[in-house]
Amino acid sequence: MTEVLIISNYFDIISLLYLDRTILKLKKLILFLLLVSSLFAEARVYMGMSAGAFHETFSTVEATNSSVIATLKIGYGDIKAYAVEFSVDYAYNRSKIFSTSADVSRDGNKYGFNVSLLKSFDWDIYILPFARVGFGTGFLDIDRALQKNLSYGSFQGTLGTFVPVSDDFDLELGYEIRGTSYEAINTIVTKTSYGSVSNIAYMGINYRF
């Protein structure tokens, strides 16, 4: 009889452990579903455009670039929570840093493509502050003896805020810091890479479908 009881207890323990694990798994599943549902409950596709000014400072050569930038983007997410954004940007360069030809007075325009993740905060203060991080790639036209364009990669972080105007429209104000690493400049004997840090202030408008 004792042996039977022991065996019975053994199975009870196993069953309880199994039940615990199952409950734990269910809890995780429920939490995950809650998270997903909260993330996507208000998610919408949105498009936006913005314009801004930037100041770029190079790290390994004494050069600066104060120019303007425009961005078109498409995103998906909740204005009050998370979003993912894909954007293309166009910068009109006023500086002549890479080009050496006497035929041009400035470097060519810069075209870029970026992917970013955004987290906004609903503090019930009418505006929706956000933080965004992302990376991108692009190129700019230059006029050098051995290179006619220069590709680059970038990482960027943004602090800003959405200002809802209506259910569908919101304004966006932001301040972005962007680190850019350019393709190496070829001077036959050496190939030197240049990097820069840009401070970008912009404002734009978004439409949420």
Binding site: A53, F54, H55, V61, E62, A63, T64, N65, S66, S67, N93, R94, S95, K96, I97, F98, S99, T100, S105, R106, W123, D124, I125, Y126, I127, P129, R144, A145, L146, L159, G160, T161, L173, Y175, I185, T187, I188, V189, T190, T192, Y194, N199, I200, A201
Partner: protein
């Protein structure tokens, strides 16, 4: 009357203070960046570009029996600086049957002639110079005691090239062939000597030039009587 006295009571909540703080931060950021954005832009590239490449030698010549002729090439930049670009360029000969090239050097492929040496980079920069290969006309040699048959003897050699250049080293592209009465036991290209063993009072050593090329010549004979 101050601002908080004319604002409704809700405006004094913590939310409003956060709101004002954010606006304040954004205004500071914007004004700072716009202020900076109005700064100067560099309008003249500080990164020097390549202006030209050139061979350092202009009247290049090589004796047909020289091991090689070492050359250097220089890149000149728009800011006036220069750099040794020898290893970064492509070296080509206009006529490989006359002149062979490697990075930083040229070699003779025949006894005499001219060819153009071109250095090139990315189909953008070029420099071309003529290379003249000096022809070996004859070979000067020391004498040997021909009557001392059976004792190996050393012959000192030197080339006479076009323009009557004499005592020029014979380092390569040359092979010595002994006749039936003699044996060449050693050829020292560094010391320019030939060691010969013989069993006759008259021997003939044939000199073959550029044997392993399409330009083989065997027009020089050395006779010891």
């Amino acid at each position: 009357m101050v601002l908080y006295q004319i604002l409704p009571i809700w405006a004094l909540t913590i939310d409003f203070r956060i709101y004002m703080k954010l606006i304040q931060i954004l205004l500071i950021l914007f004004s700072t960046t716009f202020f900076i954005s109005c700064g100067d832009s560099t309008t003249s590239s500080p990164i020097a570009d390549v202006a030209s490449i050139s061979l350092d030698d202009t009247n290049i010549s090589i004796h047909s029996t020289d091991l090689q002729k070492a050359l250097t090439a220089t890149a000149t930049y728009t800011d006036g600086t220069t750099a040794n670009a020898t290893a970064d360029l492509t070296w080509n000969s206009s006529e490989n049957s006359t002149l062979l090239t490697a990075v930083g050097s040229v070699f003779s492929a025949r006894n005499g002639g001219d060819a153009n040496l071109t250095i090139e980079y990315a189909n953008t920069f070029y420099d071309t110079q003529n290379v003249h290969i000096k022809k070996l006309i004859s070979i000067e040699h020391s004498d040997i005691n021909i009557s001392d048959i059976g004792t190996a003897q050393t012959v000192y050699l030197g080339g006479t090239f076009e323009n009557n250049e004499t005592n020029v080293s014979l380092q390569t592209n040359i092979r010595y062939v002994s006749d039936a009465n003699s044996t060449i036991t050693d050829v020292n290209a560094t010391q320019f000597t030939l060691t010969v063993d013989y069993n006759s009072s008259s021997i003939l050593i044939q000199v073959i030039l550029f044997e392993n090329t399409d330009n083989q010549q065997d027009d020089i004979n050395i006779t010891f009587n």
